[in-house]
Amino acid sequence: MKALLICEHREGKLLQSSYELQAFAGLLGVESAMVLIGSEAEVPEFNGKVYLADAGKYGEYNPDLHKRLVLEAVARENPDYIIFLHSSYGWDLAPRVAAALKAGQISEIVALVDGKFEVTCCNAKLRRSVAAKSARTVLTIQAGAFGVAGEPRGNPQLERLEIEETAGRVEFMGYEAAEPKDVDLTRAEVIVSAGRGIGKKDNVPVIAALARALGGELGASRPVVDAGWVTQSHQVGSTGQTVSPKLYVACGISGAIQHLAGMKKADFIVAINKDKDAPISEIADVLVVADVMQFVPAFTEHVRRQ
């Protein structure tokens, strides 16, 4: 069995997450080749073939051309699997490749269980084992689910990838940098974060008070930021800040994968949630099963008396 691993390249750099594809292919036990639409100065460490197309010519985000390039590599390599990261690049490109090949796509794989692809469902409360019925299969893997062991090393054998077309229907205009952060959560020793479970904006000060009482900073989950309850500087997660405090207190946060990705490295995690099945309970050291707005003010008083 053979796999084609599609690397990611952004703002002139190879994304390190590309190595997770190698880790996954290793578990799958397949031979692999990589595809990079990037630059020769930034090729992955890899003992094998790397199909290289020039991002200077085909763009960093040009889905029509990238699809054509991947299909060209598929024609040359004849893989059983075409594997992407489940990322803003991968979930945008993978279905285009799958549709062109009429291949089954299995999205956001979190594990291989007895050779079957396992994906999550319903906010990670259920899992599904999914199989493809097509000759080739397109896979996307969850970012961070397949860890890279050690420093990647290798001598890639470069194969040039070229196509005739140089224009696509989506014209990329450029990047907009993330807003500057006025709070640096990455240095905080204690973070107390508010999630949708706090109910309303008026309750934010209650969570902030606990953060102060514990000598920490206020964090927040994405829905709370999008609702305008807390500014984006406080957002923890894959589109916010990635933190590793000594103590992380999640208040009314169910624990979407994007949030967990930003805080699972905390030394000690306390979750306060009335839903015992919330996915945050999977990684919490302590789950306090309680109504956030009843428990937090009482606990804050308790901490203050210390």
Binding site: M173, F268, L287
Partner: protein, 258 residues
């Protein structure tokens, strides 16, 4: 301009889930259903565009599923959609994303839409495939994960959300499919008069068998609850007692009070 918004009705994610008797989907008994959150951003963006263009565009709202999905369509009509299409399929959960996209494409092809909005993924299955696959089947331009949208004379400028908080800006000509991410807008609540008006709007039902010709390319073999890691301690009880116990644990296990 003709706009299509594709929505899905999903269970409230706060619910407790268990597999059904076949063990290939969740048991729907006792679940409360609502519009998929990402699709609410799609409906809102379509309605905002209609308002921007002085009410000229016609917005069709489409959903696939059993009878209950009519409620989600009616909510979208109350938010400002013009007509509803319910593709009836009581076995919707046995269709894979390829078949769902093919069903919508088969409906949309005849209707000649200019712009299609949908959510970036569903909250239950979350494959993030249907919008993009639909675009490919129709030969439309497509951009995913929108947190910004602007329309100007036949072209749209979008902001895509990227990892780490940065954004990618792109321009597309119509016809196009766009998939909407949280943060794109704040969906409106339907007002009572608009809920009443929605009841009088055109509402068609089409059996899925009239549209779907494609076989599945993937299959769910099994659905099951995740193995509990069970590493964490669960505290339950009265607030005062919980406070004491949590404080004692923090003193013992963390350096916060040292």
């Amino acid at each position: 301009m003709k706009i299509l918004v594709c929505i899905k009705q999903v269970p409230d994610m706060e619910s407790r889930f268990k597999p059904n008797s076949e063990g290939t989907w969740y048991d729907e008994t006792d679940l409360a259903f609502r519009m998929n959150e990402y699709d609410e951003y799609a409906v809102e963006q379509a309605v905002q565009l209609k308002e921007q263009l002085g009410g000229e565009p016609e917005i069709t709202v489409l959903s696939i599923g059993p009878d209950r999905v009519g409620e989600a369509i009616k909510k979208a009509l109350a938010m400002g959609g013009d007509r509803g299409v319910h593709i009836q399929d009581s076995r919707y959960y046995q269709k894979d994303p390829w078949q769902i996209a093919a069903t919508i494409a088969s409906y949309a092809r005849e209707q000649r839409f200019d712009l299609i909005f949908t959510g970036m993924q569903s909250q239950d299955r979350g494959s993030a495939q249907v919008g993009v696959t639909l675009a490919e089947l129709l030969g439309f331009a497509c951009a995913t994960t929108l947190v910004g949208f602007a329309y100007d004379s036949g072209a749209i400028t979008v902001k895509r959300e990227l990892e780490g908080g940065s954004k990618g800006v792109a321009r597309l000509n119509l016809p196009a499919v766009v998939t909407c991410q949280m943060g794109l807008n704040i969906p409106r609540y339907p007002t009572l008069p608009n809920i009443m008006k929605a009841k009088k709007k055109e509402f068609r039902t089409v059996p899925v068998t009239e549209l779907l010709q494609e076989a599945a390319v993937t299959t769910t073999e099994k659905m099951y609850p995740p193995a509990k890691k069970g590493a964490g301690l669960i505290l339950e009880g009265e607030t005062a007692d919980l406070s004491d116990r949590l404080l004692a644990i923090l003193k013992e296990r963390t350096a916060v009070f040292r």
